[in-house]
């Protein structure tokens, strides 16, 4: 075991992913994976990643170096999967709105490129305190990844707000959960990479895990609890004159 941990630590490390596995099983039974295959794959992958890292951490014959090497691999794969999930959320928002699909994809790609450049710039100006490249590099990469992910998820919300798109419940729940995790983890990792924290930053680790726990609970709520059916009410129409409008349109077309 690399470090001895408290009961709270063990709970916060494992509980969210056990909950996540249960969520994945329930969603599979409901056929949810057909509509959100990437997010479903993320649920499975994240659980495997967490259990693997947990096993490496508690097993007595593993070293810190092997832990961090495995962490690097999971960091890269996990980052790519999360980017794919954000892309899936955007597609769910724009797929049925053909007028926005192309423009949405283009601006999303531009935002991604811009944010990547920003993340690289931020990383270049960050001075990590940890002398070990495995640890410092991993934290820097995490910080950079979260910069891009925060920016992209904010972009999705801004796009929906500007064009007054209505979210479906599942898409909104997934996006909200990820927003909270990305923003909190970005703040946490930025502090961890730059400052030497007391007790190896255990408070921040607990905070990160607790935030992820909240995120999984949010997903459970939005994905499992059915939406209340809204009362169907007819929209009142403006008091206007259709005949005059048609006449004016014909006049404009004849110009």
């Amino acid at each position: 075991m690399l470090h001895s941990h408290s009961l709270l630590w063990h709970y916060l490390w494992l509980a969210p992913d056990i909950l996540q596995v249960a969520l994945a099983v329930l969603l599979y039974r409901r056929g949810f994976y057909k509509a959100y295959p990437v997010f479903f794959a993320y649920l499975i992958y994240e659980a495997i990643e967490t259990f693997t890292l947990y096993a490496v951490d508690v097993l007595p014959w593993t070293t810190a170096e092997s832990y961090w090497r495995i962490f690097w691999v999971t960091l890269i794969i996990g980052g790519l999967v999360k980017f794919a999930v954000i892309g899936e959320l955007l597609r769910h928002l724009t797929y049925s709105r053909s007028a926005l699909a192309k423009a949405g994809d283009l601006t999303f790609a531009c935002a991604g490129v811009g944010l990547t450049l920003l993340a690289v710039l931020v990383a270049a100006y960050t001075t990590p305190h940890n002398p070990h490249w495995l640890v410092a590099g991993a934290l820097l990469l995490l910080q950079a990844t979260y910069v891009v992910q925060c920016g992209l998820i904010l972009f999705v919300f801004l796009l929906a707000a500007y064009f007054r798109l209505s979210w479906d419940r599942a898409t909104f729940g997934i996006a909200l959960g990820f927003s909270i995790v990305f923003c909190q983890h970005l703040a946490s990792r930025a502090v961890e990479v730059s400052f030497a924290l007391p007790e190896n930053g255990i408070v921040f680790d607990l905070l990160n895990m607790a935030t992820y726990h909240v995120c999984v609970l949010i997903w459970c709520y939005y994905l499992l609890v059915p939406r209340k059916k809204p009362a169907i009410s007819a929209q009142p129409l403006p008091e206007n004159n259709l005949a005059v409008w048609n006449r004016e349109l014909e006049r404009l077309l004849q110009k």
């Binding site: 007028a99 910080q143 919300f157 064009f163 169907i232 259709l242």
Partner: protein
């Protein structure tokens, strides 16, 4: 200021923005009953006059360069106000269309979807037109075409009329003010 502290502040602001947008969206969905009442009537004729390149050419011939630049800037500022209203109306119609789709009435599905797509296209074009107008404000002698916004707006009004008739055949629909 340390970069890490700056990143923490940015992350907090980002999360606050997302939560505010979420709350705003939820409130807007609950207040979707009287959306059409918030549509601003627009004088399409006046709008077309402002985008007419022949008008610009006439003014360029009749006025001195300095006078033309001043008048063109005023026309462009008026145009920004119109295009902004068009974008607002398009946003309202997106919400109306989305609300009609959420209602589940199969009869309204196709016109509602068409309304949403037309309104989104118009809002997108209005955004691009506003960007071009602001560029033209910096360079008053340049030409641009915001006429597409007028054409799209008329098309959108037709789609809104159809949806309105399907929802309530007795009441006519109009999205622009007529003199």
């Amino acid at each position: 200021m340390n970069l890490a502290i700056f990143i923490v502040i940015i992350a907090a602001l980002t999360l606050s923005a997302i939560l505010l947008l979420s709350v705003k969206q939820t409130l807007q969905n609950r207040q979707s009953v009287n959306l059409t009442g918030s549509i601003h009537p627009i004088d399409v004729e006046a709008f077309r006059n402002l985008t007419n390149p022949a008008e610009d050419e006439y003014l360029r011939r009749c006025l001195t360069p300095a006078q033309f630049r001043r008048v063109r800037r005023e026309r462009l500022l008026a145009l920004v106000a119109y295009v902004h209203l068009v974008a607002e109306n398009a946003g309202v119609l997106v919400a109306v269309g989305e609300s009609a789709l959420a209602g589940g009435d199969a009869r309204l599905a196709d016109p509602a979807r068409a309304l949403v797509n037309d309104a989104l296209l118009l809002r997108r074009n209005a955004t691009m037109a506003m960007a071009r107008i602001y560029i033209a404000l910096a360079w008053p002698n340049s030409g641009f075409a915001a006429a597409r916004v007028a054409d799209r707006y008329e098309q959108l009004s037709g789609t809104a009329m159809l949806l309105g008739r399907l929802q309530n055949p007795a009441v006519p629909v109009r999205l622009s003010a007529m003199r």
